[in-house]
Symmetry: C2
Subunit: 326 residues, 2 copies
């Protein structure tokens, strides 16, 4: 049995807790939180421990799954716990992955541990598919589309606006753009041509809707470069219709082969997820198994999903893989 710890108990931590039940070679040892352990309502009957005591669990946990966020939690927690535990995390700030990798790598080597970083679907499964696709079709273009799904970052950005009580933002890929890519037309697409954004917003009493709509639509980085629709709804409607966390997307490689590179070849990978955190949790668990195996082999340091052979994620033997998967 692979002994799993969960560090951080938000949506992702809950997803990991549920996902462990689907993996018979894993058991959940405990959940670590910065909050008062007694205040946590967990799904399964598992000890909840304050994070200040985590070091005592060093030898009782094979792989610690870091379920904190990339903005403020993981930049500190990643390197810190890489020295103490084998870890898996979903660090997703693309621009800082290289720096983060080096910090985690140094600590993991120091502690004789393995850390697999940036695990999930993007980065993660989408990264793997971008790499396979561009390597197999060296001449071509890779397109990534996201959605339809809830972007936490964009929802948070709206919630920070004064006068907004609550908000949910959907990222929506533009169907015509996806179709043009699928047909192998290799279109050059602007940000605006690839995705549109839909915002469902609950106003505080007396707030000026028109002003808030303008503020959302002109917000740099988040909305200014997109066509954005803003809908004002009641809190009841938001809770009823927009409380789930679906997501998904596509990685499409449109390549050419042949004597004059005249032959169209299309590779597409897509996800349609009713729950983003539950799916991401399951990806983390597959890589927790790989981290365990790598540590058993005596390897140390940081890894990404690109370094892990697919077979290492599986419980199956080579013989079983040859007979059931190949």
């Amino acid at each position: 049995m692979i002994k799993i710890g969960i560090l951080g108990y938000g949506n992702l931590g809950k997803g990991v807790e549920l996902g462990i039940k689907q993996n018979p070679d894993m058991e959940l040892v405990s959940i670590f939180t910065r909050r008062n352990p007694g205040s946590l309502k967990t799904v399964t009957n598992v000890p909840v421990i304050n994070i200040s005591e985590v070091e005592k669990w060093k030898d009782k946990i094979d792989v610690m799954i870091l379920c904190g966020g990339s903005a403020t939690d993981l930049p500190n927690q990643g390197p810190k716990y890489a020295e103490m535990f084998n870890t898996v995390d979903s660090f997703d700030t693309h621009a800082k992955v290289s720096e983060y990798y080096n910090q985690v790598n140094e600590k993991a080597i120091k502690g004789n541990k393995i850390s697999i970083i940036s695990v999930g679907w993007d980065p993660g499964l989408f990264s793997i598919n971008r790499l396979y696709a561009e390597t197999i079709l060296p001449t071509g273009n890779t397109y990534t589309f996201w959605g339809k799904g809830v972007s936490q970052g964009h929802s948070d950005a709206i919630r920070r606006i004064s006068g907004v009580k609550n908000a949910v933002q959907y990222t929506i890929p533009i169907e015509d753009a996806v179709e043009a890519v699928r047909e192998g037309n290799n279109p050059v697409l602007t940000t605006r041509q690839k995705h549109l954004r839909e915002c469902f917003v609950v106003l505080e009493e007396g707030a000026d809707g028109r002003k808030i709509e303008e503020e959302i639509k002109t917000m740099p980085n988040y909305f200014a470069d997109y066509d954005t629709n803003v809908y004002f709804i009641s809190e009841e409607e938001l809770n009823e219709k927009h409380s789930k966390m679906p997501h998904g997307g596509f990685v499409i490689r449109s390549g050419k082969t042949g004597m004059n590179e005249q032959t169209k070849q299309i590779i597409e990978y897509s996800l349609k997820l009713e729950s983003n955190p539950e799916f991401t949790a399951n990806v983390l668990l597959s890589y927790a198994r790989a981290a365990y195996k790598l540590h058993e082999k005596g390897e140390t340091g940081a890894r990404t999903v690109l370094d892990i052979p697919p077979a290492m994620l599986s419980t199956k033997t080579t013989e079983e893989l040859l007979k059931t998967i190949i």
Copy 2:
């Protein structure tokens, strides 16, 4: 530069010859054939050598790409040349992969070489996707659909019928079945419900079309379990409209997560290929790079695509992968 040899010069061998031009870290050293070398019209200006002399090239080639067929060529060539060269092949008889792996493994270890077997898209990229998907979503069903595309095996089976001059067979996935799977309905599908078969047949003069149609439709293993349409056309029409080798397909995993496994999660991988052999050739070349790297590291024996970390296919450094792919 990785020095590549091609053994066997059919459609796949030609595809490899063309694909090498897209990979600046590779050069084609020579093509080996059982035929009279002078009789071969190659695409690029490369030495063509009779296979009887292949042993002399042992130290001049880093990776030999075996482009023979799985029915009669590879069962002999795979083990034989695994002792002499690092090899990559597209052995695709699913039921015999395990036996073949063991034979190749023994010889590759004996010769201190690496052999990556069953490389292509199915087996190959589809195998990888079946494994990732079933590991990440342990509760669920995996569906593989093929087509629309030309099946060489089925076309050959028709051509062997007395009175048939030429034939091309298309495997076509049934759209309703694909849609039901995509919706997460987890249908139980019979062979007949997943694919239909379309046959374009040129008759010999005086042949009995009705009898041949009956013979095709009742052929065990190949057609009896499918709805099959047979169209008789002229040789001119066959050459004009059916001489290309498109193919493709889908691997779809329909899984469930959550407290009561109530959350639908769909993973789909699909290929839409205008040329099956040119695409398969490019997959072989990516794994030739991996075989080269594994041999440089001193590893020996047989491998499948499931054993190879994605990063090993690429020309990019870890730093470049972190910055451009993750």
